[in-house]
């Protein structure tokens, strides 16, 4: 329990900054971090813990946003900015005592508090051991003493806020240039995570993860018809430095969504029925997230998430069986450039790697952590342990999951040419899937009719519904490597109490045959 004296006498903000600072070419963690980490490890040993790890984490989030909307009465465009920054610093200690886990955390990063909180984690572990059916078993891991950071040229936090605001204002004003556009918003979010990890296995790892998210929104309203429509541009959300931002191309995409939101307002609703679909990467990425990445989490498959996120239609008995067409090869990968799930090491000190999940339609591997590997006969973890804060317990979270591209000969145009009656879906809409990941219904942000092998005008009110294994077996083509794109999602919820993660998925435009298309209200 954090008492009042501790609360008022908290550590200095500058302490956190200095703690993680180090010469750029340094290859080992800060000595000060190592000293703090060793307090937890020594204290746990004193209590006869068979395992201990500590994460000391500093999180920073900067958000810059601008909304343009009409003044009531005059119609004059009003500008409403949102400029703010949050930072958070603390540590969490995990122990195994008597074969059971215990965890405790605190925002006060001092040697005394680390010792006290380690004791709290031990108390919790001992209490849990009273109804622990089997002792926790951890897969072996190598010990590392190292540093890792998101490759970047320019720290996005040092770029002046004025430069960020100018970029957003230009984009928001570009969207508003058509007087049929009711309102526009533009935003940038920057995130940094300084993280130090030490474990009783001998690891001491310092990491810096940088992420950038951008967003443009346009809204159009037809009051006579009683219709409101929107169109968004969500550039690839990336682990990167500021040098990535020009690649978002906000200006050109602002023009595009301005035209498309107006077209969307008068677009006729889809005629429902069985249709062929072309799903673009910034739409299909979330379908992959929901129907491939989540069901291949081993904790779900074994019932550990039964009370909230659910279980899975895939079980250990599915290994080696076909669950998708031969066009579908998926990998889990925490090493790929600019992906949100890319790290040097996971929150158990396991080095990041790539592994096959589905190979040409055959299910091969679950996502695992150290305590799960032995449950499916694996000798080591796939490095999928992550916590969203110093205050939360690390558990199994998905890596970046990618659909490998098809043959270089397969183009978007050739896939469209092979469709008589279909829909091309772009961007994110409504996503809903059952707790075993069978029945899904997904919408998009914009839709185009495909008739007689050609892309026609925009349509509206589209959703498609299916059963996951049938849907992926209905995939008959995915475009070649030159079409492959990676996108990110920042709100992935799992666990109780819920933790929120950011992750990337990549794919080429992909075709699915005879999918059930619905018209929505």
């Amino acid at each position: 329990m954090l008492n009042r004296r501790h609360f008022i006498a908290a550590t200095a903000a500058t302490f956190a900054g200095n703690l993680f600072a180090a010469p750029k070419d340094s290859t080992t963690p800060s000595p000060e971090l190592e000293k703090l980490g060793s307090v937890a490890l020594a204290e746990a040993k004193k209590y006869k813990a068979t395992y201990c790890d500590i994460r000391i984490v500093r999180l920073r989030d900067q958000r810059i946003g601008l909304r343009l909307s009409p003044d009531r009465g005059t119609g004059k465009t009003l500008s409403v900015p949102n400029v703010g920054e949050d930072s958070s610093f603390g540590f969490g200690v995990r122990v195994i005592v008597n074969g059971a886990w215990g965890f405790a955390s605190s925002p006060l990063v001092t040697k005394e508090e680390i010792a006290r909180v380690t004791g709290e984690a031990v108390i919790i572990a001992k209490a849990n051991a009273s109804i622990q059916p089997k002792p926790i078993e951890l897969a072996p891991v190598k010990a590392y003493r190292t540093r890792w950071e998101t490759p970047h040229e320019k720290d996005p936090f040092v770029v002046p806020v004025t430069e960020k605001l100018d970029l957003l204002r230009n984009a928001a004003e570009e969207i508003k240039k058509n007087n049929k556009v009711f309102g526009s918003t533009a935003s940038l979010n920057l995130r940094s995570e300084d993280k130090y990890f030490a474990s009783s296995e001998g690891s001491s790892i310092q990491q810096l993860i940088l992420q950038i998210y951008g967003n443009l929104d346009a809204t159009a309203v037809d009051r006579q018809a009683g219709i409101s429509r929107s169109r968004s541009y969500v550039p690839t959300q990336a682990s990167a430095g500021w040098e990535y931002v020009p690649e978002m191309n906000l200006g050109e995409n602002a023009q595009r969504i301005r035209e498309e939101v107006v077209e969307h307002l008068s677009a006729p609703p889809v005629k429902p029925g069985k249709k062929d679909l072309i799903l673009m990467p910034n739409h299909l990425m979330l379908t992959i997230h929901e129907s491939v990445a989540h069901p291949t989490e081993l904790d779900r498959a074994l019932g550990y998430e039964a009370n909230y996120a659910g279980t899975s239609y895939i079980t250990p008995a599915t290994i080696g069986k076909r669950i998708a067409s031969e066009h579908c090869t998926f990998v889990g990968d925490r090493t790929s450039p600019r992906a949100l799930g890319t790290v040097g090491y996971d929150d158990e000190g396991v080095k990041a790697s790539e592994f096959t999940i589905i190979d040409k339609g055959i299910f091969r591997n679950f996502q695992t952590t150290r305590e799960q590997a032995h449950l499916v006969g694996d000798k080591e973890s796939h490095g999928c342990s992550q916590a969203d804060s110093w205050a939360t317990v690390p558990f199994q979270r998905m890596p970046n999951v990618y659909l490998k591209p098809g043959s270089p000969d397969t183009s978007l145009e050739s896939m469209i040419a092979g469709i008589d009656d279909g829909v091309l879906i772009d961007g994110r809409g409504s996503y809903s899937i059952d707790q075993q990941r069978y029945n899904f219904q997904f919408g998009g942000d914009a839709f185009w009719e495909i008739k007689g092998g050609k892309k026609r005008g925009m349509i509206s009110s589209v959703a498609y519904q299916g059963r996951t294994p049938d849907f992926w077996q209905a995939c008959d083509a995915t475009a070649g490597p030159s079409y492959w794109r990676q996108y990110g999602t920042t709100g992935d919820a799992k666990g109780e109490p819920t933790q929120i993660n950011s992750i990337s998925h990549g794919c080429s435009p992909t075709r699915f045959r005879q999918i059930n298309v619905l018209v929505t209200d």
Binding site: K134, N307, Y431, I433, D434, Q435, Q436, T498
Partner: protein
């Protein structure tokens, strides 16, 4: 955690570091303890403390905000300086209003010390009770018991100060057949941890699991449904966003009239539908102040089927000559990061004395639904939602439960659901799987669209 005096001194100190004409400080702290279980054993347990100070400064309508969790003098000075640096370069906010002066905030919550202090010794016996029930019946239990203690203070340099301390708890369990052929759920949120009833929840979930075994496929379509209170709240609470006065007047909600105007004053729902926000109801915690820092108050949104009020923030109320209001609530789990505790959920729908059995007895042919899962908006204007039934769906024939049936996807809006409501029952506080809280009755509605079957158990 801190006292009212400590919070006030901390806020005064932070404001003292600011050179700007307007400065607002929010100081908050929380402590969360939980035990999570699955496969008839404990999987994780945690004790986590958090604290934060958020500083918002404004000059010439230019606002900057900075939040940190270091609270010593040097850190507070640094945080104020960063907020002022952001404000200096921010563009003016065209919708900025002058800050409020001193406010008299009502007391909204009966704080329970035992809930705020509960740790493993109080929680593990509940877990053991549920696991023992499951083991006895050769079933598999998973679940969560959690409590949260929150303290928040707000202050500004024009005399406003407020302090609020709350505690909340919840216990939920999902009990499944070992072969995965059935699943049952039960949950209870409570502002008093002593009221959590693990035996009742364990028995309810295990009985539901036993009764739902080997569910049958029946053709999808539109059904009369009996929604248990959690299921009713899962959908009804999503009507809240439609009461935004601004969005409605701008033509963007279900309460916007075609061609302009609103549907306030019109009877849209049956006589027995009354929706209110009551922050003084002791069953669920609510903040004493609104999002604009005005004192909260009770407000009726729908009275006996007639739309009575829309929600107005200070800015839009000023523009339209209306009184500012609280928001409807019902959105999320509050301060528990989805874990369920603390928070702002004061939405409620009135009920009556009818039991769930009475409602089931009134249905000739229909479905009883335990709760829903993965509910997402399909159309933010009509409020059409999609999601799935979960952990127990049963066919009702001639007023009696006859057959367990497979899960369905639904496609429905809270607006249409309430228009089609036929009967309601007793109202209780519930918390949905995805965190939404409200006080809701069981509800019978006709013509509920369930367009496809889900194979999930």
């Amino acid at each position: 955690m801190f006292t009212r005096d400590e919070a006030q001194k901390l806020a005064q100190k932070a404001m003292g570091f600011s050179t700007f004409p307007e400065c607002q400080v929010t100081v908050s702290a929380s402590e969360q303890a939980y035990t999570r279980f699955a496969n008839n054993g404990i999987t994780t347990a945690s004790l986590a403390t958090r604290q934060s100070v958020s500083i918002t400064v404004t000059r010439d309508s230019r606002t900057g905000q900075y939040a940190a969790n270091d609270l010593d003098d040097a850190s507070l000075k640094e945080a104020v300086k960063k907020a002022e640096e952001l404000a200096a370069i921010a563009p003016p906010n065209s919708e900025r209003l002058a800050p409020l002066g001193a406010q008299q905030y009502p007391r909204t919550f009966d704080f329970d010390e035992r809930t705020a202090r509960a740790r493993a010794p109080e929680m593990i016996p509940h877990v053991k009770t549920i696991i023992d029930i499951a083991l006895k019946k050769k079933l598999i239990a998973a679940g969560l018991i959690e409590r949260q203690h929150n303290v928040v203070a707000v202050a500004n340099n024009t005399g406003l100060f407020g302090f609020h301390e709350s505690a909340d708890s919840q216990l939920t369990t999902t009990i499944r057949m070992a072969d995965g052929s059935s699943s049952g759920w039960a949950g209870q949120p409570s502002t008093k941890i002593a009221e959590l009833d693990s035996a009742r929840l364990g028995n309810t979930a295990s009985e539901k699991c036993a009764r739902w075994k080997n569910p049958q496929k029946i053709d999808p379509g539109n059904f009369t449904v009996v929604l248990e209170p959690t299921a009713a709240a899962d959908i009804v609470r999503l009507i809240a966003s439609g009461f935004s006065g601004r969005n409605t007047e701008e033509g963007r909600t279900f309460l916007s009239k075609r061609g302009g105007g609103t549907l306030v004053g019109e009877k849209l729902f049956p006589e027995f539908v009354t929706l209110r926000s009551d922050p003084f109801d002791p069953r669920q915690p609510s903040s004493p102040w609104t999002g604009d820092l005005l004192p909260t108050r009770a407000i009726t949104w729908v009275d006996k089927g007639v739309v009575k009020n829309l929600s107005y923030d200070r800015y839009w109320a000023t523009k339209t000559g209306k009184e500012p209001t609280p928001g409807p609530g019902g959105f999320g789990g509050g301060g528990g990061r989805g874990g369920g505790a603390g928070g702002a959920g004061s939405l409620q729908m009135d009920g009556n004395d009818d039991s769930l059995e009475t409602l089931i007895g009134s249905v000739e042919r229909g479905l009883l639904i335990t709760h829903f899962w993965y509910i997402r908006p399909v159309n933010t204007q009509t409020l059409q939602q999609t999601g799935l039934t979960r952990d127990g769906v049963f066919l009702i024939e001639n007023g009696k439960i006859t057959t367990p049936v497979m899960n369905f996807r639904f496609l429905e809006s809270p607006v249409r659901l309430l228009k089609n409501a036929k009967k309601i029952g007793q109202a209780i506080r519930v918390r949905g799987l995805e965190g939404g809280m409200m006080i809701a009755p069981a509800l019978v509605a006709s013509d509920f669209p369930l367009p496809s079957i889900s194979d999930a158990i």
